[in-house]
Symmetry: C2
């Protein structure tokens, strides 16, 4: 029959300087709006108005709304990793882990606990309704989890963490605590739950320290 399902793919086109800038502006604006109002709550006209572009521009660069959503997923993933980057690459001590998680908590407090995790919110909304989005978000979580696992693995390699510790599982548990904690904090409008959840998992990691 037809070729294997793939997302409406805007043909690989050469982008002009202006094109690249427009494209970026659309993605950033869409990401912002979708973060605050959800994907379904963000209409193309909304994005048009906020980014000051015409409908044709959005459809020219992304094909359709789904294409834009996929671009937003990648953008938010890159943005999150970049934002946490210096710390993210040295999560190889209990102190570094705590510091890294605290930063996020402080940011969340500063935002008045409105909005949860950029990735997590997209995941919850899209996981069951858009298979390619689900795949993209699974990749996002993998990219995010990797530096955690890697940091723990370094601790273990250095002999600071017991051999019996399952670093992969601990990394997953910490990521889950972050996600669940963020959600509870968003709903309760207080970072207490996030801090407790994350702190609990890090305490547990600490209990695997040698000595």
């Amino acid at each position: 029959m037809s070729a294997p399902v793939k997302a409406a793919e805007p043909k690989r086109q050469r982008l002009t300087q202006a094109g690249r800038r427009t494209r970026e502006r659309i993605i950033e604006t869409a990401a912002e709006l979708m973060f605050h109002r959800g994907v379904a709550g963000t209409s193309i006209p909304d994005i048009q108005a906020a980014a000051e572009v015409s409908a044709s521009q959005i459809y020219h660069y992304f094909g359709d709304k789904q294409g834009l959503v996929l671009a937003v997923i990648d953008h938010q993933t890159d943005a999150k990793l970049a934002q946490q980057r210096p710390l993210l690459d040295s999560l190889d001590s209990i102190e570094a882990l705590r510091e890294w998680c605290d930063r996020a908590a402080d940011r969340q407090d500063a935002a008045g606990c409105e909005g949860g995790c950029e990735i997590g919110s997209l995941a919850s909304e899209l996981a069951d309704s858009d298979e390619s989005a689900r795949t993209g978000l699974a990749g996002a979580f993998d990219r995010w989890e990797e530096p955690i696992r890697s940091g723990l693995a370094r601790m273990q390699a250095r002999g600071e963490l017991k051999e019996s510790a399952d670093t992969a599982a601990l990394a997953t548990a910490l990521l889950a605590a972050i996600q669940g904690g963020m959600l509870l904090s968003q709903v309760r409008r207080s970072t207490t739950a996030y801090r407790q959840a994350v702190s609990t998992v890090i305490d547990h990691i600490e209990s695997h320290l040698v000595r």
Copy 2:
């Protein structure tokens, strides 16, 4: 100015037998659809068709879509607590905690990891866009967390858990692990993350056992 914001409130009316049944059917159908497709992805006509009711019936009983959503939140909360009820009231041993969490994991596996937590999904979608929904969901999480906390407190009272253990924080951490683990499992289509997250937190609770 005006009275404090309150949701469009269908006047307290006496319900006939038929009325009560229709109302219930609408709520259950809406809950089901909204769980699978999200609130925004579920239209009133969708609900009409699935529940075999007319538009007037929905608006008669709930005022508007938001009213229906609030009813769905309460319904899902009651349903979740009822479903877990026997176990939920005796979460006062490590084994009971593990058993309780395992059940949820098995259910999730049986569902092919489609759909996350009924409460968590609603929370993520509605927390920032509907203040009364947010309040209702905060209450839902509180009602859910309470039996966990209470079970841990009993363990502590019996002297099984060290005095130094913060049972409230541990309960919150477990709930967060459940939520975050569910989200990761939904996105990854595997309960591994959920099992690891939950297991990690329970291991940590276990480390607070006396002796």
